[in-house]
């Protein structure tokens, strides 16, 4: 059993350092982190961006419009030229629930997400290799992104334990102990073959405090070098590094310094959207987008509510993902300019207007709220139709953000967006504060 050796080695490390470092994984705010010898910010390792004559790197990023910190860009990936800011629908197990790959193209999606944890388990990397990767497997011709798998391990598995080796967990299927290492994560993601792979990071919940946050940040920096080393396809796949550090601006700063020294093709802001206050949330995003390199894409993980998309685009984020639009669709909720409609509610039973009379999607052109009320949350077709509309809503919102940045009308767009969402002038204060910070006064 390989796991036995791992257990012994970690135990021996713990024993040797028992006194000095014993509280480094404490989540008590009163404990203090003691830096270890391995806690190195700049290791000298650099991301192996392919160079040379005639070599086109697998990611090119060109800003085509700016308003304040907000940018509209052309992001060229091996499988697709994407326009940012963009929303990336989540196709956890190789499908955005209920939609065909063709429908995703019809909806003009750019990047679609796949989950390494789920795909690594089913169908598994061997199948991915033999069918030629996820693009071919689900026949999605455009760009894809896979997460590292670490987040799912920690969030789905109560028995997960993080060691220096990786995320150690008990397989929910046969009970055996397994370790997701940076090497294994890269291996699976190389098999999946997405345009963008996420580095395995030591994820802590955004509400975690104490030395554990700093420990995770330094470990993320160590793991990133192992990710780089294990990456087998730098000519066709990109690694994005993930900025960690919780809500502590000092740690975020150190983490960014370390990651940027390694010169990644793109950066993600991780560890947010996990229950922290919105006030803390936007400040961390603002800090990160102020420091991360201007000429590289920035991806804010797990964020996808309309207001968050608008505010964080204003703060200079380029990429977003979230399961919310498709999940809420299956529960019968449609997204609209004024917020959302619970179509299961009887108030729509004789409403013969479309979900959104200005929406150009297949659903709004053909179906009334009254009919959707009959099938929403009940029949498969209800989930299919509302998912279709909600993804269209997200795509349309991002395209309006993008166009208004290019047209230099972004502040007007933000204002009209907020007026529609909050007609009673009750826009949350955090959003107003964030926008004010980038000179958009509502």
């Amino acid at each position: 059993m390989t796991t036995t050796t791992i257990d012994q080695s970690t135990t021996s490390i713990k024993n040797n350092n028992e006194d000095k470092y014993s509280k480094n994984n404490s989540t008590d705010i009163n404990d203090v982190y003691v830096k270890t010898e391995e806690d190195i910010v700049i290791s000298g390792v650099k991301y192996p961006t392919p160079t040379g004559e005639g070599v086109i790197p697998p990611l090119q990023f060109e800003i085509i419009g700016k308003w304040g910190k907000a940018r509209a860009s052309k992001l060229t990936l091996p499988h697709h030229v994407c326009s940012t800011p963009m929303f990336m629908p989540v196709g956890t197990q190789g499908t955005v629930k209920g939609l065909t790959s063709q429908q995703l193209v019809d909806l003009n999606c750019g990047v679609v997400l796949g989950n390494t944890y789920h795909l690594g388990h089913r169908p598994g990397p061997e199948v991915m290799d033999s069918v030629g990767g996820l693009h071919k497997f689900m026949n999605y011709p455009r760009a894809m992104l896979t997460d590292s798998g670490g987040f799912q391990m920690v969030s789905l598995l109560q028995l997960a334990e993080i060691t220096e080796q990786g995320v150690q967990f008990q397989s929910p299927h046969d009970g055996s102990t397994m370790v997701l290492t940076p090497e294994l994560s890269m291996g699976i993601q190389n098999s999946i073959g997405a345009d963008i792979m996420m580095a395995l990071d030591d994820v802590v919940s955004s509400t975690t405090v104490g030395p554990r946050v700093e420990q995770a940040m330094y470990r993320t920096l160590r793991w990133i070098d192992r990710c780089i080393k294990a990456h087998k396809k730098p000519e066709t796949q990109n690694i994005f590094a993930i900025v960690q550090g919780g809500l502590d601006s000092r740690l975020r700063e150190i983490c960014m310094e370390g990651l940027m020294a390694r010169e990644f093709p793109g950066y993600a802001i991780g560890g947010l959207s996990g229950g922290e206050s919105k006030d803390m949330f936007w400040r961390v995003v603002h800090q990160c987008t102020s420091k991360l390199p201007e000429n590289k894409p920035r991806y804010l993980m797990g964020v996808g509510y309309a207001l968050d998309l608008v505010v964080c685009s204003a703060l200079g984020v380029d990429m977003f993902d979230c399961v919310f639009p498709s999940r809420t669709a299956r529960f019968g909720t449609a997204l609209v300019a004024s917020g959302s409609l619970n179509l299961k509610s009887s108030e729509y039973s004789t409403d013969f207007t479309p979900i959104d009379s200005e929406c150009q999607c297949m659903v709004c052109k053909n179906y009334t709220k009254a009919y959707l009320h009959i099938v929403a949350g009940k029949e498969a077709i209800g989930g299919q139709l509302l998912t279709y509309h909600n993804i269209h809503y997200q795509m349309s919102l991002m395209s309006q953000i993008r166009q208004s940045i290019i047209d230099q009308t972004f502040p007007n767009f933000v204002k009209s967006f907020i007026n529609k969402q909050y007609p009673n002038n009750d826009c949350p204060q955090w959003a107003l504060d964030a926008l004010k910070e980038v000179n958009i006064i509502i």
Partner: protein
């Protein structure tokens, strides 16, 4: 809107090709009607439905018990059931029998019992007329309920008599909707003949006849024998519809006897089980004896885990053009909704193609040969797979 039905003239055979026209829509028979839930074809959003190969205009079986639940909404909508369901391009048949399952419904002299999401409701002939006028489908069944093959003669007599009275009342009401009469009577030939005679009194006011109460426990022989006798006495120009029967073998036997339309959920049932239909239905493929393919494959089978080929090479459906067996196997395995969507597209398309070929061979006067070859092949494959299992 009044419909017309033109049929091909087949001198020697009862099977025929028909063209059912209503307004701008034209529809060829024999064919099958897509199964729906709450008025929508299962898993097929408008874009997916309108991409199906083999026919542009589809017929759909709307269940009265589904539509009943939102007739008040339709009444307020005022723009018709087609628009409400986004099914403007298709033919809508309002039927009482649910082809996916048979449960004997209760009835008495003046009403039938309808089971809805909210429980059971009694529907009288007056209610029915009112509701049909609101729903305004292209075609409607007259009021009746199917009884089991083995039902008592007393009960069978009652439904025959009630159905006849209800038909008179329904036609008196002049709904303006193309109406199908029903022939009830269970297994009793004398009752079936009485039901038929009652229907014939109004034959000119009906566009077709539903051969009712089948798929309720009878054998194929019993069914075919009875239908053969009934069809002989029905007007040629009537559209003949049957509900609750629809396997490929059953279809060929019944088309041979002159059935035009099938209300069945067979393709959807295959989908529910994770099956993809793969039986050969092209005449030239049936003549070619050396291929030992299966009639259907079950995509749950782990042998498809890395199978990067489509369900059927050369199939014109979206699923086969775009996706592999490995992908569908994975989607089933992970309980993803898209598995059913892709299988529905294939299975429905496969059945549409099967019917297209049936129409072609009837036109070419090759139906008897086709049926013989088809059934031989099917039995041969079934025997092979049985012996392989052992």
């Amino acid at each position: 809107m009044t419909s017309t039905f033109k049929i091909s003239d087949n001198k020697d055979e009862k099977c025929r090709v028909g063209t059912l026209e209503i307004g701008e829509k034209s529809y060829l028979t024999p064919s099958f009607m897509l199964y729906t839930k709450e008025g929508s074809p299962i898993n097929l959003t408008k874009d997916l439905l309108n991409q199906l190969p083999h026919e542009k205009t589809h017929s759909l079986q709307l269940l009265f018990s589904d539509l009943f639940q939102f007739t008040d909404v339709l009444e307020k909508f005022e723009q018709g059931v087609h628009k409400f369901l986004a099914l403007q391009d298709h033919l809508l048949f309002l039927l009482i029998r649910d082809s996916s399952s048979f449960v004997e419904a209760e009835f008495n002299d003046d009403s039938i019992s309808v089971t809805t999401r909210k429980g059971k409701t009694k529907i009288t002939i007056q209610d029915y007329i009112k509701l049909v006028k609101v729903i305004k489908p292209d075609f409607v069944t007259s009021l009746s309920v199917d009884i089991a093959w083995e039902t008592s003669k007393k009960k069978a007599t009652k439904i025959v008599n009630s159905s006849s009275i209800w038909l008179e009342k329904f036609l008196e009401a002049n709904t303006g909707i193309n109406t199908f009469g029903v022939i009830q009577g269970g297994k009793f030939e004398d009752l079936r003949m009485k039901s038929l005679q009652d229907l014939l009194k109004n034959k000119d006011r009906l566009v077709g006849t539903i051969l009712s109460g089948f798929g309720t426990g009878e054998t194929n022989e019993e069914r075919n024998q009875l239908i053969n006798k009934l069809i002989d006495q029905l007007p040629k120009e009537h559209v003949k519809l049957i509900s609750g029967v629809g396997s490929p073998e059953e279809i060929l036997s019944l088309v041979e006897l002159g059935i035009d339309l099938f209300s069945t959920n067979y393709p959807n049932l295959m989908t529910e089980w994770g099956n993809a239909l793969t039986f050969k239905y092209k005449m030239n493929e049936l003549k070619n004896n050396d291929n030992q393919e299966e009639n259907k494959i079950n995509l749950w089978d782990s042998k498809f885990v890395i199978d990067a080929t489509p369900i059927i090479k050369g199939c014109e459906c979206f699923t086969c053009i775009q996706h592999t067996k490995a992908y569908i196997h994975h989607l089933l395995n992970t309980h993803e909704m898209l598995a059913e969507v892709l299988l529905t597209i294939h299975n429905v398309s496969h059945y549409l193609g099967f019917f297209e070929e049936i129409r072609r061979v009837i036109k070419d006067s090759q139906f008897s040969e086709y049926k013989k070859l088809f059934l031989e092949k099917r039995i041969q494959i079934n025997n092979n797979s049985n012996s392989n299992d052992n």
